[in-house]
Symmetry: C2
Subunit: 210 residues, 2 copies
């Protein structure tokens, strides 16, 4: 009477989806080892047996979540990086904006990924951005051109570490930042939104200073 059950687009998620969503939250918050299947079941509002019914095992469920997170990191990036019609500085701005938007929508992703990177080094480091280390990327070609023409003395490793550090680190350290710098959740979002413009400017200043 009040609300008719919406059976079309926005209907209630299936049990399987509910469990997966709960798993994403708990795994992201506590990591793989500290998560008990009972935690996920409780968080999902369903029974422990359902978890095994739908996903067979804790590990298989984790792998599904992991792959989805991995996909978030790579999705849409190839399009930006391989676009012949954009310049190098434009790609920088697009990449930073894209990642900050993605991380604002999925704040737990970096900690999740780093936890994996630092525990299962070999297992999936091959997968991480494996599509991205190609030497044929337009971005890489443009970079070589830029480095050959101008006089960039800074090693590429430094540049990449700077870019990632300036973009991703705030999300990793957000609990400490919010606490110690007296930044509210809302202010944190505003800060990160500012950084979409600022990081590219800073990167250019860093390049110019070397």
């Amino acid at each position: 009477m009040m609300q008719e059950e919406n059976k079309t687009e926005r209907s209630i998620p299936s049990t399987e989806e509910q469990i997966k969503a709960a798993a994403r939250r708990v795994f992201t918050r506590k990591g793989y080892a500290a998560t008990r299947t009972r935690d996920i079941a409780e968080e999902s509002g369903h029974n422990l047996a359902l978890l095994n019914y739908y996903f067979r095992s804790k590990e298989k469920l984790f792998n599904i979540i992991m792959m989805e997170h991995l996909h978030l990191f790579i999705k849409d990036v190839l399009g930006i990086v391989n676009d012949e019609s954009t310049t190098l500085p434009q790609k920088l701005e697009l990449l930073v904006a894209h990642y900050i938007d993605m991380l604002l929508a999925n704040p737990g992703v970096p900690v999740f990924m780093l936890h994996i990177i630092n525990t299962n080094p070999d297992e999936l480091l091959n997968n991480v951005a494996s599509a991205l280390d190609t030497e044929q990327l337009v971005l890489v070609k443009q970079w070589r051109q830029f480095a050959a023409a101008g006089n960039v003395t800074l090693k590429p490793a430094h540049i990449i570490m700077n870019l990632l550090g300036l973009t991703i680190f705030p999300f990793i350290a957000s609990p400490m930042i919010k606490r110690k710098l007296h930044v509210s959740d809302q202010e944190f979002i505003a800060l990160m939104t500012e950084r979409k413009q600022l990081v590219p400017v800073w990167m250019k200043a860093i390049l110019a200073s070397s």
Copy 2:
């Protein structure tokens, strides 16, 4: 006959120290939950029962290691930060060099800390650098002076995030960096050593660009 037991400075560590050192390695590598007390015992070359004999429980042992890591983060910093005889730029250089040296000697510390920060938010975030958020620090006074005189439009939160991101992030992401950027352990150390000089230069360039 071959080697007489050295009983003075550099004698073999006590069983207690051996277990603690093993715990530090295993906890750093795998995190609290994924570590089994048996792993620590095996790594130390001693028996599982000895761990409980010396430290009562896994949790108490972990807390000891955690506090030692926390101490590494704060130790010596107060001296740098409260030194009336150094300028602000000098403090920046000293702090960056100090942290990079500390992290090169203890590469696992950041991941260890972040794992804790993101799992036990409230428990110890009060302790983290609680001595450092005082408004009375010489560093803070010098900063206020600098900000009032010059025209620094950048918010302090951005500056701190940049400094930490440029300094600490490479250690957090080192497994990925080494793998994806084809950087050897030795080259990584060289890169970080370079950053002791570079980060302060970059920070100044960032400030000037705003």
